[in-house]
Every structure is written in C-alpha cells, then in structure tokens.
Amino acid sequence: MAPLIKYKEVSPQYIKSILASFFNPAYAASIRINDNVVEVVWEMVSKSKECTKALNLVPRPAGFIPGASFVAMQLAKLGQRLLAHQDEDIANTCKSAASSAYSTRIRMASHGL
C-alpha cells in the first residue's frame, strides 16, 4: 500500500471503511489508499451538503480551501463512525454522494492516475 504523505493524519483503515460503506467491502479491499484516493474521497463526501451537515462540519466561508489536516480529520471522523457501526443514519445520508463515476475515479487514483 502506498504511504500517505500529505494525509498521514488519517488511517487508511478509515478511508477503507468509508469506501466499504459507500460502495461495498470487496471494492474497498481492492483499493490501495494513497493521497490521490484521499482527495477524491474527500471531494465525493464534501460535495454532499447533507453529508457535511450530518458530520457537523464547521461552516466554512466561501472560497475556503481546506488544508490537509482538516481533510484528514474530517475523513477520520467519518471513517471512525462508520467503522464502529454507530452511525447508520450518517452512512445512509452520505451515501447519496457515492456514484459509479466516483467508484471508477477512485480506482484510477488508486492506480496512480
């Protein structure tokens, strides 16, 4: 598995738990987590207003570009919740962000594209 350099503050396990919940466990297992994968997963999650609301993300001013620590922290929070099976509501709410286009984009990012 390629190491996380930019997003080292989030465990790959949490990213995998997000992928398993949004797509399926076999798909999650086939993805190698790297910085590009984290960025696409973050894009997928953060584009869902419902999901960011459910996660209680701190309101951000327009044009705010989140730093790597912020992204890592938010995805770790989501992954942790999903891994602990504590928040099925959050999983269902956030799943609307998933799409087959994202599953192929994440797979391509996993392989370096």
Partner: protein, 180 residues
C-alpha cells in the same frame, strides 16, 4: 541480516506495485476512445494505468488544461443493494436508465438519492441516449465530472465505461462524431 533482506524485498515489492502508470500503448488504443480523441484534437499526453495482472484500469488524456478520463467500471464495485429494486435485480444498463431517465419507474433508495442530486444540477438528465450509451451534462459541484458518458459495451453484463471531462467540446465530439 534476515530483517535487512525482508526490508529490501518489501521495498522492491513496493516499487513493483507502484509502477502502474505508463504511456498509452499504441496497440491498446488503436480502437479505443483515446485514439478517437487524438484524431479530433491531438493531445499532449496520454497515460494508462494497469492492475497487478496487467488489466487496463483507465486512461487519462491531457491537452493543455483539459483532461478526459476513461475509466473501466464494474458492477461488482457497486453496492449490491443498490442494484435491487422491489421487484427485480437490475442490470448495469437498467440501473443507469433508472437513475438518469425521467420516465423510468424502477427505483430504490440509491436511485432516488441520485435523482435528488441530479435535480439540483444545472442541466438535468440525459442529453443524448443512444443504444448502450448515455451522455449527461452535470453541475461539477454535484458530480465527479461536468460532462459524463456512460457506455455499456454490447453483450457486457457487468462492465461499463465512464468517460468524464470538464471539456464539453471534446466529450461531445467523442459521443456524436466518432464515439460508436
């Protein structure tokens, strides 16, 4: 000594695993969409990624600031519950139709959530739909791509192509002029 050997082995293995991106292979893209794009607008760069078994994962074509991504998707990548409606198990093509067609009545929670998302898009739904191919213009804030083509190859039961780009001109050329 043994630890050093194992470390070296793992290091070498990681190099092998990470060496996944290549320049597009001429033989491969002779009949592919990247070749079509190159005929229309000669591109600056074309990279492809392969898995450990050499199977093509996807292609990325770049021309100045425009990129076209061509990804191979599989039915097994989707949550299986997303493919089930009240009365039937959907094929990939039926799933895409159910999400993007305004007249299709098959539904489940995944399909309805995708429809809600599309309703917020600037331009909703299928702009053009040919046999096994659908083209959408989406709001980039809501989807993975602004312009998106789903193509289910004939006779394919589980594989589909996702062709995405922010560049409408390139993608409509692919679809309407050379994309069949």
């Amino acid at each position: 000594m043994i630890k050093t050997f194992i470390f070296l082995l793992l290091t070498l293995k990681s190099f092998v695993i990470e060496a996944k991106v290549f320049d597009c292979q001429p033989d491969e893209f002779k009949n592919s969409i990247s070749h079509v794009v190159n005929q229309l607008i000669p591109y600056d760069d074309c990279k492809e990624a392969r898995d450990d078994n050499g199977v093509l994962i996807g292609i990325r074509i770049s021309k100045l600031n425009s990129t076209v991504s061509i990804g191979y998707g599989y039915k097994k990548d989707l949550s299986q519950s997303d493919l089930v409606t009240k009365n039937k198990k959907l094929t990939i093509h039926q799933l895409f139709d159910a999400i993007y067609s305004n007249t299709e009545t098959l539904t489940n929670s995944y399909i309805s959530s995708q429809k809600v998302k599309l309703c917020d898009a600037e331009s909703y739904g299928v702009v053009n739909q040919k046999s096994h191919t659908s083209y959408f213009e989406l709001n980039s804030e809501l989807g993975a791509y602004r312009n998106l083509i789903y193509r289910v190859p004939k006779d394919s039961t589980d594989q589909y192509l996702v062709i995405g780009s922010g560049n409408k001109s390139i993608i409509t050329h692919i679809l309407f002029k050379k994309g069949d």
